[in-house]
Amino acid sequence: MRIEAVRLPLITRTASLVMVLLASPVLASDNTEGLDDCLASARELHEGLPVRWEVENGSGHGFEIEVVAIDGRVWKSQCLPASGKASVVGRGIGIQDYATMSARAKVAEQDARNTVRTYFPGRFIEMVFDLTWRGGAIYTYTVITPDDRETSVEVDAASGRILRSRSKAID
């Protein structure tokens, strides 16, 4: 009876470990966990519009975020997903038109990201917010699909709809 009492939790623990190991790729599939906290933190440092983010690329520095501040300056910061606290690493070159950019970003970046996640499930690499030559605002996402294709998805920042996408198998 005593042996049973010791063995049972061990089996349960082993089963739990196996379950966690099996579930880990699913849990790890959302590699933007903590990004929203990091973006909020980056905006606290410099009030403005996040125009670019890149996920952890093995450097151990977490998310890389670029924010165009109200005065048009571009600030680069890094943020660890676990802490959710961004720290400024430097200033980008040049000045950007904050007023135009922020006015044209009618759809929240998080909503655009969710749309991309629905149609192109996979691992996010980066997001770039930019204006086209015609003045339209676009969120461009780079996603690696489960079958190893690099996908670029453009989302209209005015309507939230996907404008175009391209994918190519990674050789």
């Binding site: 079958d147 294709r149 996908t151 709809r161 996907i162 404008l163 175009r164 996408s165 391209r166 994918s167 190519k168 198998a169």
Partner: protein, 169 residues
């Protein structure tokens, strides 16, 4: 009265426009397509190089091209599983080269492409060789959010090589 007629016009327009984006590629359509392809190949043994589905009509109409084993190209029209027109196209194609490079059946690559854009309208397939000589099937879809999407599937590995989609409105 005016309000009513405007509503009627909008309703009439929506019923004529919407079906272009609404004909989802169903397993039934897949079966009907396969029946047509098999019938066509019984008529001219060879390799199907392209097909196009017209699902806007009540009966499923499929137009397809077959490169026969004697290198002649046949253009056919299939309605309800029967070939209703069959005519020779100009020029010849290299049947031996086209058929020998296909390692994965088109039905398998079709499934891979459909899984990439589930619940959308599959309009056509084209089999061709890249400039490097790799064979691939290109499928064209019309998505529910009005994008025309193409999916290139390798005829050697059966894997998706590349995709492209763009809004049509």
């Amino acid at each position: 009265m005016t309000k009513l007629s405007i509503t009627a016009v909008i309703t009439a327009l929506s019923t004529t426009i919407v079906p272009a984006y609404a004909a989802e590629f169903t397993p039934e359509m897949d079966t009907a397509l396969q029946t047509c392809l098999d019938t066509a190949l019984r008529q001219h043994a060879g390799v199907v190089t392209q097909w196009e589905i017209d699902s806007r009509t009540s009966a499923l109409i499929i137009k397809l091209d077959v490169v026969a084993s004697d290198d002649l190209v046949w253009s056919m029209r299939c309605e309800g599983g029967a070939i209703v027109s069959d005519e020779r196209k100009m020029g010849n194609k290299n049947y031996k080269m086209l058929s020998s490079r296909v390692k994965v059946p088109e039905t398998t690559t079709r499934q891979a492409a459909v899984e990439e854009y589930p619940g959308t309208e599959l309009t056509r397939m084209k089999y061709s060789l890249s400039w490097k000589g790799s064979p691939y099937f290109t499928y064209t879809f019309m998505t529910a959010d009005a994008r025309e999407a193409t999916v290139d599937v390798s005829a050697v590995t059966g894997k998706i090589e590349r995709t492209y989609s763009s809004r049509v409105d």
